[in-house]
């Protein structure tokens, strides 16, 4: 399993591996929003939590179809399915690799972009925490969506449509946590709900995704 994680990370960091795709998108969005909305600090501060969370979510969505599609194309997925590693483990590891290359950098970069968007000072800590707690769910739900659409050519659109409704709770509670913190309110409740979604996704979705993969490999 460690070998699979190392391979996926190595592939992501090598040329053409897609690392930085989501991060680049996130940066561009956060730089463009003040230009589009206007420089009024009050307005920017008001929409900052929502923009940052929507940006992180879309950045995650960008690289989802790579999770299984590339392995399916070159035959690795068939070979992994016949390997000693259970397919559930393959799914979990690949979602973890996706999170390390996408969600984690987003959580770390978000405070810098928070400055660009004039996020209120108390919101910064919760911004990092909420993204760190919420993005694993985005990767795991995304891996499920990718597993459902793995055999399809140009399955990206269908996958986005399948995955976006499942992303809603994470977005709502994540953005809510940052908004409340920025207003100086207690953000514990949305953060707990966010953790709950992540824990549930990580516990259940590897099994659902592995089941979908087995059907798609037939």
């Amino acid at each position: 399993m460690i070998a699979l994680l190392i391979r996926d990370l190595r592939l992501a960091f090598r040329a053409g591996g897609g690392f930085g795709l989501g991060l680049g998108f996130f940066l561009i969005l956060a730089v463009l929003v003040p230009l589009g909305v206007g420089p009024d600090p009050a307005t920017l501060g008001l929409i900052a939590p929502g923009i940052l969370w929507v940006g992180a979510l879309l950045a995650c969505l960008l690289s989802l179809d790579r999770i299984f599609a590339l392995d399916h194309e070159d035959g690795s997925l068939d070979l992994l399915a016949t390997s000693p590693i259970p397919l559930e483990g393959v799914v979990a590891i690949k979602a973890l690799a996706h999170w390390i290359t996408t969600g984690l950098p987003l959580a770390l970069a978000a405070p810098v972009l928070g400055i660009l968007l004039n996020l209120a000072a108390p919101g910064f800590g919760v911004l990092i925490v909420s993204l760190a707690l919420g993005t694993p769910a985005l990767s795991m739900i995304g891996a499920f969506g990718a597993a459902l659409t793995v055999g399809l050519k140009r399955g990206g659109l269908l996958m986005s449509l399948l995955v976006l409704p499942l992303y809603m709770p994470t977005l709502v509670f994540g953005a809510q946590a940052v908004t409340r913190a920025a207003q100086g309110l207690d953000a514990a409740t949305p953060l707990l709900l966010l953790s709950g979604i992540t824990a549930g996704s990580v516990a259940l979705l590897p099994f659902a995704a592995a089941f979908a993969l087995r059907i798609n490999l037939r």
Binding site: R10, S76, L79, L80, T82, R218
Partner: protein, 212 residues
Amino acid sequence: MELRVTELACARGGLPLIEGLSFAVGPGEALVLRGPNGSGKTTLLRTLAGLQPALDGEISCPPEQMAYAAHADGLKSTLSVRENLGFWAAIHGVSDIEPALEAMNLRDLADRQAQHLSAGQKRRLGLARLIVTGRWLWVLDEPTVSLDAASVALFAGVVRAHLATGGAALLATHIDLGLPEARVLDLGPYKAEIPADLGFGGFDGENGGAFL
């Protein structure tokens, strides 16, 4: 350890291809599958490898004992030969890949990225994976595609060495591998009858009128 297949039936995309197939492969044996394109060789091998369920019949050997190799080699173009092979070795809990590199004559290419290999070299790397799986039954779908004559002979030697150590091989191939000891199984007689109720006649059947 023996692969015993009894009255197996399998289908591709819902269309039955093979039925009533029985055979056995024991340690030290090689079985070559023959049959025209579309006769179900790939489907049979995928069914044996556990990638798709059988319609009917029994397979005595669990997929965990088989090393499956298909048309695609499962190589990552940005990883080197050593990294590619090392990954599959690690997945199968094997640490030493040097014998496999040596056997498929890949040692000189070990540090080259897979994207810079020729088709035949990629194939050799894909076949080297079989050695590092450490599994006794090799299930091979067209293993010699894009190999030159020398590489085919090299591969035949690898298969023979595998058989000599108590392994077994099931190969779907159109060319002569140079394995005189291998038995040949023609899939022709096991072609499945397509049931009429599958409706491949489209709307020409008795229900057709309802749509007019």
